[in-house]
Amino acid sequence: MIALLIRDLQLAFRAGGGFGLGLAFFLIVTVMVPFAVGPDAAGLAVIAPGVLWLGALLACLLSLDRLLSLDWEDGSLDLLATAPLPLEGVLSIKALAHWLTTGLPLVLAAPVLGVLLHLPAAGYIWIMVSLLIGTPALSVIGTFGAALTVGLKRGGLLLSLLVMPLYVPTLIFGAEAARRGALGLAGETPLLMLAGITLGTIALLPFASAAVLRVNLR
């Protein structure tokens, strides 16, 4: 199990492994928002928490494509499925590796990008905490989506479509907490809800993912 985690991290850090790309995507999306909606600072400040959450969500989403498909294409997934590891465990580990290489860097980068969007000072801690609590759910839900689409060639866009609706509750509570925080209001309630979603998905979703993957492997 730990061998799998180590291998996945190793692969991510090797040339072409894609570590840092999610981060760069996050940066670019954030930079492009003012180009699209205009440079007015007050206007940007209002939408800043939402943009940061949406950017983080998209960055997660786009890296999902690599989560299982690479292993599927070169046949490793067939071999892992016949190895003495429970498939649920394999998928949980893969979600963890995905979070470590994608979600966690996003959390750390969010305040820097907050500066670009004129995020109000009160908002920094809230955006970080809400992302820290919320991104694990994004990875776990994403693993489910990846397992659903693993057999499809270049299923990236379809994967996005399937996963986005599942991301809605996480996005709503996360962005709400960050927005309230930025306005100086109390954001504890949405944050609690967010934590609930994260815990629930971590506990239950790997079973669904494994079931789906078994079907796809046949």
Partner: protein, 203 residues
């Protein structure tokens, strides 16, 4: 080690084989043959537990199979040794030295797998079998793109495995130089289905 009785397998809801039966015990090798599209790959995947059989039964422990598919399952950015070590750790086996010597990979062990030629990569994927510690090897066209010398290496690896109490089932179109029973799948081709139960009753 494995016993199959009256097995039917399907691919994409279409029955492909029906009434297949055989048994393989320790020290034996079974060689599956049959024209293109006769269902060898489908049968092997069923035996490895990757898809459920259509009907019939498979007696044997799926936890005792090691499957080598047509695809290599090799990570191109890891080195040869790293690839093998990963699988050794997953299967709880220590030491990849024997696998490296068995397939003449020592000289290549520090090379990144992406820089290997087709045949070298295939040798790596076969070497993986030796670090699984599993007794039943299930092999789908194992010698594709291997040259004559490598086929010999492979044959002696299989023979050593059989002598050590293992067993092997493999599909192939060419002569592997391994002694073993040959099973031709052509006669088991699924024809018009006799029962309505096959396709959820749509027939």
């Amino acid at each position: 080690m494995i016993e199959v009785r009256d097995l039917g397998v399907s691919r994409g809801a279409v029955p492909v084989l029906r009434g297949v039966g055989f048994s393989v015990s320790a020290g034996e090798a079974l060689i599956l043959q049959g024209p293109n599209g006769s269902g060898k790959t489908t049968l092997l995947r069923t035996l490895a537990g990757l898809q459920p059989p259509l009907c019939g039964e498979i007696r044997g422990d799926p936890e005792d199979c090691a499957y080598a598919a047509h695809a290599d399952g090799v990570k191109l950015t890891l080195t040869v040794a790293e690839n093998l070590e990963f699988w050794a750790r997953v299967f709880g086996v220590t030491g990849i030295a024997r696998a490296l010597t068995g397939f003449d990979l020592e000289a290549l062990q520090d090379r990144v797998a992406g820089g290997l030629s087709a045949g070298q990569r295939r040798r790596l994927s076969l070497a993986r079998l030796m670090v699984t510690g599993r007794r039943l090897w299930i092999l789908d066209e194992p010698t594709v793109s291997l040259d004559a010398a490598s086929v010999q290496l492979f044959a002696s690896a299989v023979r050593a495995h059989l002598r050590g109490g293992g067993a092997a089932i493999m599909a192939t179109h060419i002569d592997l130089g391994i002694e073993g029973r040959v099973l031709d799948l052509a006669p088991f081709k699924a024809r018009l289905s006799q029962s309505d139960a096959d396709d959820g009753g749509f027939l």
